[in-house]
């Protein structure tokens, strides 16, 4: 486990995760006198990048970048406002609903916070909400981004752990919607208790129809991508490419993007893709060393030595992931811990797809928790409110998210029913699983 210690020390010290992933195993090989394995490390790095299933990732990023253009965000907010703005606490509800709509387009919590927050935090403040509440609701709801498919995070997990992308997307639908609805229910309750304002008068149906029409064109992007994959028409790569193409046509056609914006949008997507793909390559290289040293088996033994009860094991792992999520970004957390915890949890009797979705949701919620919550930083930056005040205001929202994590952990049917219905699970195993609870 020396490689893991070196990795942890350098990563916590501040070395970029991508280099810590290479340095830990590399130095351990040098110390062990296994220099010839450096070649294996490098070839795994290359093969981790030169991999057909990963081709979908840059296209998802391109689609997200195009959809992040200001006009499309405005259309989504208008759509949510048309149907929810007249309720008490309407703008807060609009914020959450917009995050759910935005999730299908961008799949990024940070993009969600910055796109919606820059528009809705000032609007909520003008409408009589406290700045800290506006920032908290923006940050809390933006974690839905990587949970409701399509999701770049899930593609990463599916790639490193060899589970079905389509199955994982299908499994992500319930937790994403459950978190959204849970946050909306809580907001409705808070609106009553705190007497939040109403944003606008109920809109006439003609205006609602127009908002729906304006919103539905960009909303077709996730429908094409997700529908194409789940219906078996497209491979994830094709679906992502078609989605990116459609997004580009919509953005250019509706004049929310000009031809001259293409270099800027694609540059941003290329940089994000390059950074993530190199991280994936390093993580694949690291994962091969993880199995080389039999770390998952050791981890499973360690976990089982504490308890053999799958419920207790899942509880401990959830706590561990939540703590990790507080310090580490969701992508690296999945790339580092997926190969270690995934096989260990399967040994305990947890279904791979079930653990995959629980892990994705858990580390994503970590994006909104201090001290290293990326979306919290963005929300604080946008609102000008201190991190601590937003974090305190966020506690009830976080509790809802934690509740969903435990619900999906202990009731696998909630996440596995849709993939099972769509045929992504082998039915006898899934059925016994669903009937048998966590342990299967």
């Amino acid at each position: 486990m020396m490689y893991f210690m070196i990795f942890l020390i350098t990563m916590f010290g501040g070395l970029s995760v991508v280099f810590a992933l290479l340095f830990g195993p590399g130095l351990a090989f040098v110390i062990d006198g296994k220099m010839m394995f450096l070649k294996l490390l490098y070839s795994r790095l290359f093969n981790g990048i030169y991999s057909p299933p990963l081709l979908a990732l840059p296209f998802f990023i391109v689609a997200g970048e195009i959809m992040n253009q200001g006009g499309i965000t405005k259309n989504l907010v208008k759509l949510a406002q048309a149907f929810l703005g007249h309720r008490r606490g309407g703008l807060a509800q609009v914020n959450i609903a917009s995050s759910m709509l935005f999730a299908g387009l961008s799949g990024s919590a940070v993009a969600d916070t910055s796109a919606l927050g820059s528009m809705l935090i000032p609007a909520m403040e003008r409408n009589g909400y406290t700045r800290r509440f506006a920032a908290a609701v923006t940050a809390a709801s933006s974690v839905i981004g990587p949970i409701i498919p399509p999701s770049g995070l899930m593609i990463l997990y599916a790639f490193v752990m060899n589970v079905s992308v389509a199955g994982l997307f299908a499994a992500g639908l319930f937790p994403g919607i459950a978190i959204g609805l849970g946050l909306m229910l809580l907001t409705a309750y808070l609106a009553k208790v705190r007497n939040f304002p109403v944003a606008n008068e109920p809109m006439p149906w003609s205006e609602r129809g127009k908002a729906l029409w304006d919103g539905i064109i960009p909303m077709m992007t996730p429908v094409i991508m997700l529908g194409g994959i789940l219906a078996g028409i497209f491979t994830p790569t094709e679906a992502a490419a078609v989605g990116a193409g459609y997004a580009l046509i919509v953005a250019l056609g509706t004049r929310q993007m000009k031809i001259t914006d293409i270099p800027r949008v694609f540059t941003s997507a290329a940089i994000s893709s390059g950074v993530i793909l190199m991280l994936v390559g390093a993580a694949v290289s690291f994962a091969s060393i993880v199995s080389f040293y039999h770390t998952p088996e050791k981890m499973a033994k360690l976990v089982l030595s504490v308890s053999e009860n799958p419920y207790a094991v899942f509880f401990m792992v959830n706590i561990l992931l939540f703590i990790v999520g507080m310090f580490l970004d969701a992508g690296p957390a999945i790339l580092i811990l997926g190969p270690i915890l995934g096989p260990a949890m399967v040994q305990v009797g947890i279904h791979p797809l079930h653990f995959a979705v629980c892990m994705c949701v858990n580390v994503t919620v970590g994006l909104a928790t201090p001290p290293m919550g990326l979306v919290l930083f963005v929300a604080a930056g946008l609102s000008g409110e201190s991190l601590e005040k937003i974090a305190i205001e966020m506690i009830p929202f976080l509790l809802v998210e934690v509740l969903v994590i435990f619900l999906i952990s202990y009731f696998p049917i909630l996440t596995l029913a849709i993939p099972n219905w769509l045929g992504y699970l082998d039915i006898p195993a899934a059925a016994s699983w669903i009937l048998g609870g966590v342990g299967g």
């Binding site: 501040g14 970029s16 280099f19 290479l22 070649k39 490098y42 081709l55 540059t267 290329a270 580490l328």
Partner: protein, 188 residues
């Protein structure tokens, strides 16, 4: 100190040039593979005649984008890092020492990876991409220069942080100016 500063400026200029080239190359390639895959879908579903070479070409460009961006990401500080410990040091002399140490680690990694990448490139000439019918060395060829550019980026950063060890106040001020300039983002 003056010599170091001059060397730092030269390296910074070189890294900026590499960045400009890399950024332009990468967005063009990303646009190309996006269009290529859309065309591929059209050929497969409409013309019922899938392009056999599109996946190989896309993977080729994806590898290129990744390695071309690698030194840019380092130069711009875009890689994901855990800054909790470093932030606690609050840009004092110890932080600059830690930073220099990490740049050194990156240089060592880059040197080892360069040697592996070079071997891979040489071996690649014996492998052919079946659909494109070109040598796989064309895929590998981006890697050795990418690691060299990473060494240059790390060296530039190391010199800047070494100056920080000698004079933390000046380094802090210069970083603040850099941060203000960088707020405009990476432009193509």
């Amino acid at each position: 100190m003056e010599t170091l500063e001059k060397l730092g400026i030269i390296l910074n200029r070189m890294n900026n040039m590499v960045e400009k080239l890399a950024v332009n190359l990468s967005w063009v390639m990303l646009l190309a593979i996006t269009l290529l895959n859309i065309v591929q879908v059209f050929y497969r579903y409409v013309l019922n005649n899938a392009l056999s070479w599109s996946e190989e070409a896309s993977l080729w460009m994806m590898v290129w984008i990744t390695f071309v961006i690698m030194p840019v990401a380092y130069h711009k500080g875009l890689n994901i890092s855990m800054m909790l410990f470093r932030d606690m040091l609050n840009k004092n002399r110890v932080e600059y020492i830690v930073r220099c140490f990490f740049h050194l680690i990156v240089i060592v990694i880059a040197v080892v990876c360069f040697s592996q990448a070079w071997q891979m490139y040489q071996g690649g000439s014996r492998i052919e991409l079946p659909a494109l019918e070109v040598s796989k060395a064309w895929v590998y060829v981006v890697m050795p220069p990418a690691w060299i550019f990473l060494i240059l980026a790390a060296l530039g950063a190391m010199i800047r942080d070494f100056i920080g060890i000698l004079d933390p106040e000046a380094a802090r001020a210069s970083e603040e100016i850099d941060a203000t300039v960088a707020e405009g983002g990476v432009q193509p």
